[in-house]
Amino acid sequence: MDLNLKATELRLGLPGSDEPAEQLQSSSSHVKNNKRSCSEIDGSCQKQESGAPAQKAQVVGWPPVRSYRKNVMEQQKKPESDGSGFVKVSMDGAPYLRKIDLKLYKNYFDLLKALENLFKCTIGVYSEREGYNGSEYAPTYEDKDGDWMLVGDVPWDMFITSCKRLRIMKGSEAKGLGCL
């Protein structure tokens, strides 16, 4: 009985193409593809827009850093938040960034109004299902784990402690986030 294990093999690349598996072979010779735990395929849109490879399989125990140390590293985005609540805000198309103090706002409504003022744009209204669909811009933020999130999904208090920086995305790109 032909189990056709190859078809179920976990690998990078389109089904039917053998090349990606070989590429992985040549760069790290003799890595056994069928046992690599591709547990964290980093396929966020952020990667694509910075020009880096969209997907990267993570190998267990590599690089050899201790797990507790790994957690400390994840917190190293501190330069943006120096304890005062100030975070950088960028807007697609604007020549320079701004900085705002999240502690000055009590809720999302106040924050979004302030952003609209700062950048002279319309962000519109948040809805759980549609995100900011319909408006020209959508506010996003980078959280403690380094992931880009849509502003508005989590309770305000959770948001201000986990927000490291803000980015106001053009509506067309933000669609990807809004319809998750």
Binding site: V31, V59, G61, W62, S67, Q75, G83
Partner: protein, 590 residues
Amino acid sequence: MDPEPKKPEDSPSNSANSHTPVQPPSPFPDEVLEKVLSFIDSHKDRSSVSLVRKDWYNAERWTRSKLFIGNCYSVSPEIVARRFPRIKSITLKGKPRFSDFNMLPRDWGANVHSWLVMFAKVYPFLEELRLKRMTVTDESLELLAKSFSGFKSLSLSSCDGFTDIGLKAIASHCRNLTELDIQDSVTEDVGGGWLSCFPENFASLEVLNFASLNSEVSFDDLERLVSRCKSLRVLKVNESITLDQLQRLLVHAPQLLELGTGSFLQELTPRQYEDIESAFSNCKNLQILSGLWEANSLYLPVLYGACAGLTFLNLSDAPLQSGEFAKLLAHCPNLRRLWVVDTVEDKGLEAVGSSCPLLEELRVFPADPYDRHHRDGVTELGFLAVSRGCRNLHYVLYFCRRMTNAAVVTIVQNCPDFTHFRLCIMTPGQPDYLTNDPMDEAFAAVVKTCTKLKRLSVSGLLTDLTFEFIGKYAKNLETLSVAFAGNSDWGMQCVLEGCPKLRKLEIRDSPFGNAALLSGLKKYEMMRSLWMSDCNVTMKGCRLLAREMPRLNVEVIMDEESDESQADKVYVYRSVAGPRRDAPPFVLTL
């Protein structure tokens, strides 16, 4: 406490000596021999002494007070108890090093409990216990706390399995405790209540390190403890301690030699800033500094007054930028050891080269090991800059995303005295980034030039050539770590047939198979251990090894999804204790 006057002659080596001629009587009375031997501390020397002749063996075992066991499964508690009657200090190491990187399943073993049960029976006067990579339960800590009235010193490095319940027992019952040192522990949340369990009149602490425990402790109790322990020389607090709290601690303990700060991020009033600055300036004896979580350019200057005598600066928890880092370094001219995060980048390392001429050890850790943020980190240029300015460099651990052969060749020419060279190019199998060649030339230069090399970690794209060179030139090499390297069995064979002093060999994801494994048959008995994971070794090869070498434990750790014939994780080590009796179901001893 005196031993029984008659010494039992039933040591294991006697049976081995039964067919050697009777030895002439010793010219020295036992008491003289014992007195002389009592000055010998090093366990390696003592091992040599014990092999000279039978009465030396006996004199040695009666005078040994410090025990070092590098692999807890190489010997058993019973054997140890029989041979050494008067032990006051024990160092015990458990899991293989790759367990630090989650490569060992939970509950693999190295539980200290059975050892403690034996120690409690045979060594009631035990004073010191130093454990590394062992599982230590609360039950064990309670047993420890209650069994040794004179217990002084507990060190737990990379251990797991305990909570604050066990620590409470230690704090409450160890009346003579001078050292409690918990490093790199991998525990679930350990509550902070244990610190409050030290009795009010307890004042003997000299070393207190709880930096890696994550729960808040009672600051009031900590402050009182620090103020009454006048001999305190090492204090490493955890992140829950704030800057202004630290200031109060420093006022009580300006005599500290080693300090691990808490969080270095806080909004301080100008008055508080001055206070903490002067507290640091009063620490005239400070040699070692660590902690500094979330430190940034705003508050680093409060440290400057304490940096003149610093010999070891550990910034591995404080990712700094190059500018603030360079400014700090300017105040630390006496640094011998430096640990940093690669956020300082090559520019920061240039500052190291120019500010730290006495530097002997450098470790650069990655801020972003999984490359999520595409930060540059450090490159070959930073390493070069350090090698130019720090000619005494002999220990390096360097995580980077790119390296060249030429750079490494120059680096070892600048610093030929490396004893520890651990280079981690983070993408597996990555070639020289300028020439696209394998990194063979780099490591060839390392082993040829650095004749004192004891420890080597290789990385990048490597062919069998690298291992040929290692086997041929690395005459003093004791520890070798290999990952994603080599072409064939020949590579590993070269190492096994070459390096005469090899003790620990750990290999992962490399194409070495049964032929390579079996070529080291005779060698493994002279080594502490061999680890091979995700190589090409099969169960058949492991069974053959086990059959040929009965004094080795050949253990295979089974993965759930793995092929039954492949041996995914193999751990081989010499042992006089026979196969493990506590092996979990997924560990097969062949």
